[in-house]
Amino acid sequence: MSEWRYWLNEQRGTLIGLAIFVLMFAVYIANHPAGLTANVAQTAANKGVLLAFVAMAQAMVVITAGIDLSVGMILVLTNCLASWIVVGTPMQTTAGVLGVLLAGTICGAINGLLVIKGRLQPIVATIATGAVYFGLALLLRPFPGGAVNEDLADAVTGRIFGIIPSSLVVMLVVVLLVWLPFRRSEIGRAAYAAGSAEAAAFMSGVPIRRAKLVAYTLAGLLAGVGGLFLTFFTYTGEAAYASGSGYTLWSIAAVVLGGVSLYGGRGSAVGAIFGAFAARTTGDMLFVFDVDPLWQPLLQGIVLLIAISIGAIGLLRVRNRLEWFR
């Protein structure tokens, strides 16, 4: 009984993210002309998973009290790269997939090294690297185009046994292979500690710098998975600047909705996934309610503002006003 309460307390942010998503998705389905069909679920899953990978990437970094404004551009870069190399025979395709993931990982590691060794502030470092990654993407794909192994693309964006969206299964595998080991490892704990109380973590001999480097690197890998998925989804590569910045922005929104504290130390990538699905559903909801497309960005902005305000409620309890600035 009491164990359960502690579990609830630990997972509060994640569960709130889940609740927001379930609520919004229920409203969306109730108003969808077709209801919850396998097709609707598949489309929702594919769109959600795309943002979910980027949101997981963002969560990794935000947990260390950092931020990565290049995740969207890593997604665009890996998308362009995938549209060249994830083609051909199964062997070639496999090599291509690994190459794309490696590229994402390298991008993330560069961010991490700049922040940790170069002691640059995450916000400026990742704006700059984001611009570089976009520049590379543009060189790779000056015009939209390219191709992808369509068998593989259809398999991971389709359905298993006719009902289960396979993109969700892929995401589950990524969570099991990347997030859970991170969370359970000493490095993962150090990442949380660094985000929560860096000085105390340092005094306890925790490997803060290594943890941050791993967090940024894994963020690059996850953004790369997102880029790969975008390619499977669209069959092409496109160096779209607006799309890259949009993903970055929405990754931050998803992280906040999913209960990850922007001050670091709290939340989980699983919460960020729910946040991503919730964020996606807002967009879809405006569609089913037949809102004038001209109004959609404004309404989405307002929803986002409300969600973020909820996260700041804790500041009202501060008794020493100096703590507002810490």
Partner: protein, 514 residues
């Protein structure tokens, strides 16, 4: 009596000839200490006597400049707290070292979690933390509770459990009970006595004399960076202990104090001021022309009192009156406004006093921009005049008004902080330990300045950790202990003996004539 033991076996830890300097300040000067297993050893000394530095050296936080440490006759030196902990020296620091967003179990094993297949073994960690919590007498704390959800006193117990998880041979507690409630203190004492029976050596730093009397086997007194006496607990009276702690070298000259102007009505007063458990029932009055000191050991609520008066704290109880009329001061902006005219020289000039990369000019005008502006635009002539006046008045040594303030020496930076507020000509000046870490020459200039401001009619409330300053500068001193004013000293009553014994909140025999 000395603590030298003539037994054949070597003491657990022996420190000899330890010296440490911070810049020009000598924190420790050929200090020595002997620590034995199965004993509780109390360390006493006033602010700045060198206790904390000694402990930091033992715990591997700072390295000594000279001297040696022998652990069972083996010379040792630690480069990090982890190395000290691995050698069996664990420290419970006054400032908590816990990670608020992690669970109690995560915190207890943070430095060295049990591993299985490369990942943290949560079952083993759970077991370890339950054992450590039980040893720390805190078996009722759930290992899965998040540290941020625990009250301060419980966190302190977790901190002790964290130290015990290292299975140390020497456990150092630095003011570890200052945040605890009375019932928790009793529990901690029972735990410490049991640990002593298990053969642990315990070093106990506390300012609470009754705690030391109850707990310690032996005591060592530090003064001016040296150990001046060691004795078996209970063999010295409180006044003898105070006597041993007295004796700083007086290094500064102070301006003469004029006769107090008691007849003036107080400009600042507060009644029954309280804030969480850090300030209790504080009532005080400051008259124009008066320099009132805040004394006591570090961290007894002096800072909170100044912050509370200046409108930084929320949810204070009691009333603050300016010129006899109750006022509600809800922000520093309100506190500095015309009819109140309050200024606070903060403790940490680098974060709360200055904008380091900005120029001397910008820093000096910041607090008074409203007065230096016309229709919202800064009047350069007026600004220049004010800056020139301040640079001259305080003799600020700077290459020019457009030098970044970060390029000045510490003493001159502090002058800029003070000058910034003097630009507003405050009627009430609050100072939070303004001379910490600055050179003697600048200190003296600040003393002269305070006296001159008082003569011009300012009311000054002045917290200092340096007893000499309180003696030399203040017309009255209010001594705080545990968030309360325990003693008011005036005029000739302000002596080092009186300050120390009231700071420790003990009675000394009245016959002692200082």
């Amino acid at each position: 009596m000395t603590s030298t033991q003539s037994q054949s076996n070597a003491p657990l830890l022996r420190m000899e000839g330890i010296g440490k300097r911070y810049g020009g300040v000598r924190a420790l000067d050929s200090a020595s200490l002997v620590v034995e297993s199965g004993r509780i050893h109390a360390i006493l000394g006033e602010n700045g006597a060198g206790k904390s530095t000694l402990i930091k050296i033992m715990a591997g936080v700072v390295a000594p400049d000279e001297g040696q440490m022998l652990l069972k006759d083996q010379a040792v030196s630690f480069r990090s707290p982890a190395e000290a902990a691995a050698a069996g020296i664990a420290c419970v620091f006054q400032e908590l070292s816990l990670i608020p967003d992690l669970s109690v179990a995560d915190n207890i094993s943070i430095s060295n979690p049990p591993r299985r297949l490369g990942l943290i073994d949560r079952k083993a960690q759970r077991r370890l933390s339950e054992e450590a919590l039980a040893r720390a007498g805190a078996g009722d704390i759930h290992p899965r509770a998040l540290v941020r959800d625990l009250p301060l006193s419980r966190r302190q117990l977790v901190e002790i459990a964290k130290a015990l998880a290292w299975m140390p041979r020497i456990l150092i507690l630095d003011e570890a009970t200052s945040a605890l409630t009375a019932s928790d203190v009793t529990k901690v004492f029972a735990v410490l006595k049991r640990l002593r029976a298990e053969g642990l050596a315990i070093l106990y730093i506390s300012h609470r004399m009754h705690e030391i009397a109850e707990l310690a086997d032996e005591c060592t007194v530090f003064r001016n960076g040296r150990n001046v006496a060691s004795y078996a607990a209970g063999t010295r009276s409180n006044s003898e202990v105070v006597e041993m702690m007295i004796g700083r070298e007086v290094s500064s000259a102070f301006p003469p104090k004029p006769a107090a102007r008691i007849h003036a009505a107080p400009v600042l007063s507060c009644k029954n001021l309280g804030w969480s458990d850090r300030l209790r029932d504080i009532s005080l009055e400051v008259r124009p022309g008066e320099v009132v000191g805040l004394g006591g050991l570090d961290g007894q609520g002096q800072r909170e009192l100044l912050l509370g008066l200046f409108g930084v704290l929320r949810g204070t109880s009691g009333t603050i009156s300016i010129d006899g009329a109750a006022r509600s001061i809800t922000s520093p902006g309100a506190a500095r406004a015309g009819t109140i005219g309050m200024a606070l020289i903060p403790e940490d000039r680098k974060t709360e006093g200055l904008l380091l990369p900005m120029t001397v000019r910008e820093n000096l005008s910041f607090a008074a921009l409203d007065r230096l502006s016309r229709h919202g635009v800064i009047d350069r002539d007026r600004e220049n005049a004010s800056i020139e006046e301040m640079v001259r008045l305080l003799a600020i040594k700077t290459a020019g008004a457009d030098t970044p303030v970060g390029a000045l020496s510490g003493g001159n930076q502090q002058k800029v902080v003070i000058a910034k507020w003097l630009t507003r000509r405050p009627r009430i000046l609050l100072l939070n330990d303004p001379t910490r870490g600055i050179d003697v020459g600048t200190k003296q200039e600040i003393y002269q300045l305070l006296r001159r401001l008082a003569e011009e009619g300012s009311a000054i409330l002045f917290y200092s950790t340096d007893y000499d300053e309180l003696i030399g500068c203040c017309d009255r001193v209010l001594v705080l202990y545990d968030g309360k004013i325990v003693k008011e000293l005036a005029g000739g009553e302000i002596t080092e003996r009186a300050l120390i014994s009231s700071a420790l909140n003990v009675q000394t025999e009245p016959e002692a004539a200082a």
